[in-house]
């Protein structure tokens, strides 16, 4: 009886677990991220196929601002560091530091999105509309989808800060932060691939 009560308390403390002893939430998140590889794989392949198809408008090498995009990439990369620091703070049950690092991560993510909006605006003014060529359509679709993922990540981060502040986390708090972190790191690794294949390798 005592063992059963201890196990039930343990399960309540650490969230629901599958028969393997692994968290169902983490299993679901990793499965989701695995499926996201297929989504971004399709978008990246389409861009690779169409990046040389410039019937009208500027060529990729004429519009890309490598120093600017390098700074954006650095900002997103550093947001992965602040995210992992938020996860370790949550595992130490340090709510104030968890919220601090989550907020910093959200700010870095918002900075990246601001940079992307600026980049898109500049490109549009230089005659690079969504339907100008196959290159521009595939470019905006790929980077736009990634930008939407980052925006969703920023919303998740801020929502997590609000939930922790109000002490409304149900289940394991550290695991909740870790799940948001997994999503955030995923958008970072997608950008690592996009930055190299789209910006650094000339068409």
């Amino acid at each position: 009886m005592a063992d059963t009560m201890h196990a039930a308390a343990h399960a309540a403390d650490h969230g629901h677990h599958s028969a393997t002893g692994l968290s169902n939430n983490k299993l679901a998140m990793w499965l989701f991220l695995g499926s996201e590889c297929l989504l971004f794989g399709g978008l990246i392949s389409t861009y690779m196929l169409y990046r040389g198809r410039v019937s009208d408008g500027p060529h990729p090498s004429q519009v890309y601002d490598i120093p600017f995009t390098s700074v954006s990439s650095f900002v997103l990369l550093m947001s992965s560091l602040t995210m992992v620091l938020a996860v370790t703070s949550a595992q130490r049950n340090d709510d104030s530091k968890t919220n601090l690092w989550l907020t910093v991560t959200a700010l870095l993510g918002a900075t990246f999105i601001g940079g992307q909006v600026y980049e898109f605006t500049t490109f549009y003014r230089e005659g690079m509309g969504f339907t100008t060529s196959l290159f521009t359509s595939s470019f905006y679709t790929l980077t736009g989808f990634h930008g939407v993922h980052v925006s969703v990540g920023v919303i998740l981060l801020l929502a997590t800060v609000g939930i922790i502040k109000r002490n409304k986390v149900t289940g394991n708090k550290a695991e909740s932060v870790e799940l948001v972190g997994l999503y955030w790191h995923f958008v970072d690794i997608v950008w690592i691939v996009i930055f190299t294949l789209v910006y650094l390798i000339p068409a």
Binding site: T4, T20, L27, G34, L81, V84, T196
Partner: protein, 107 residues
């Protein structure tokens, strides 16, 4: 729920505590920043025939470092690695075949 299951859960949970220290994560971030700087340098410096291979190696190195250390796959249960890398491998296979169909690699 029996005691054995509860112990298994405890073991699974305990794996989380094998993570690195904050200083270790900062070291990884510095290495990632340095690799990014090297990547950007390939845009300005002519690496000749090493241009493409070096960029690919640096991209894969950054990818694996983030997944292994920041996403904790190196320390977590292998089932998580299996789920993620299976999706990644499937994506790579499907889209390499798709690109080959369009003769992308012959261009």
């Amino acid at each position: 729920m029996d005691t054995a299951t509860a112990e298994t859960q405890g073991e699974a949970h305990d794996e989380k505590h094998e993570h690195m220290s904050d200083a270790g994560y900062i070291r990884i971030a510095l290495i990632l920043a340095a690799i990014t700087a090297l990547e950007v340098s390939t845009y300005y410096i002519d690496f000749g025939p090493f241009f493409m291979p070096s960029l690919m190696i640096m991209m894969v190195a950054k990818f694996v470092m983030v997944v292994s250390y920041f996403m904790h796959l190196k320390f977590d249960n292998k089932v998580f690695s299996f789920l993620f890398y299976t999706g990644l491998a499937l994506a790579l296979f499907v889209y390499i075949v798709a690109l080959a169909t369009f003769k992308f690699f012959l261009q």
